[in-house]
Symmetry: C2
Subunit: 209 residues, 2 copies
């Protein structure tokens, strides 16, 4: 008797990512709290055991999707910094891409994250994850500011974290406003002007010449 063929690590990872992609789509369509494991099993076309082998809950899937996004975000920020001539240009390039993304139609994973985090205020078991994720977001955004502090281009008059929180507020607010208002009227939200407004604040708070 020959042994059963070994399922390669690579195959397993590919399958895991495919299940996450499916879960992501179902979460976007139904909302996180409304999605059950059964929904994802059905959408995946796999057996129940085939999914549970990789994930035991929707919460686990949500967190891995978010972690994957955060990692992608970090690499994206680093890439922009690497490709920009100055630290201020990196911020402008970053904001230009945010602006382009916001004007694209369709609901993305952002709304799912909103739901999860808004509801987390009532669900204690999500607290430590929420905090960890907050730290990650702050650290990633901080890269843009620290970059300019290193080169001497930025001389912030507020703590880096305060500036990052402000950027996150405008970012998240634009996302939420776009999702709720722009489906009725094109750019009811004034994406361009708000990004411009964020730059007015940043130039002043970072003391960019």
């Amino acid at each position: 008797m020959s042994p059963l063929p070994k399922v390669s690590q690579e195959y397993k990872e590919k399958r895991r990512q495919e299940i996450l992609d499916t879960a992501r789509k179902v979460f976007i369509q139904k909302g996180f709290d409304q999605t059950t494991m059964t929904d994802i099993v059905e959408a995946s076309g796999l057996s129940r055991g085939g999914v549970y082998q990789y994930f035991s809950s929707t919460d686990e899937m949500f967190r891995q999707i978010t972690d994957r996004n955060d990692e992608g975000f970090e690499n994206w920020i680093k890439k922009i910094i690497g490709e920009s001539k100055t630290a201020w240009a990196a911020i402008e390039n970053y904001l230009a891409e945010v602006e382009a993304g916001l004007l694209e139609p369709g609901v993305g994973f952002g709304i799912v994250q909103f739901e999860y985090f808004v509801f987390s205020t009532r669900k204690e078991e999500r607290s430590s994850y929420l905090l960890k994720r907050g730290e990650t977001a702050i650290r990633n955004f901080s890269l843009l500011i620290e970059n300019g502090m290193k080169t001497g281009e930025f001389k912030p008059i507020q703590p880096t974290e305060a500036i990052v929180m402000f950027i996150i507020n405008i970012n998240d607010g634009l996302l939420l406003q776009s999702l709720t208002l722009n489906k009725y009227e094109h750019d009811r939200v004034y994406v361009k002007e708000q990004i411009q407004g964020l730059k007015m604040y940043l130039k002043q708070v970072l003391q960019v010449e």
Copy 2:
């Protein structure tokens, strides 16, 4: 036989407001989508008929609470404008009160409105209310800016609505960040600095001397 005593209009209005106060508390405690009419009947201490005489759904109650808040907000803004020496002072006084409110502990009705609006992206029947409510918020915030345009103090370089959307983003973002992060650490959110940042933007966009 004497006729049944007439329930006065005043009594009815008082009872209606009491039921709304109860509903507000239950929504804050359980979240809007998790609250049933039965929950509110039980919390009110009234009979089922006693509540249904005034309201037929939690949605109706939510909307009346929000409308009542919006009316209160409009009067509050007008009072601040009336009591402030200049249009810029009115904005500063408004923001000082926002700041004080954000540093108060406890979850308010804000989080319930967040839940309702975030979820509205999936619930078509909420769309027209969402839009109407958005218009009201924009109109009320606009009062602060138009006030300074009338006196010649403000010469905005962006459309009033774009400026209002930016203010709303920082306002809502501060509320959400405070609700999710400040319960772990006092002012992790940098409320003071963010309000200061909003002023940096406003001074520039309104061309305040």
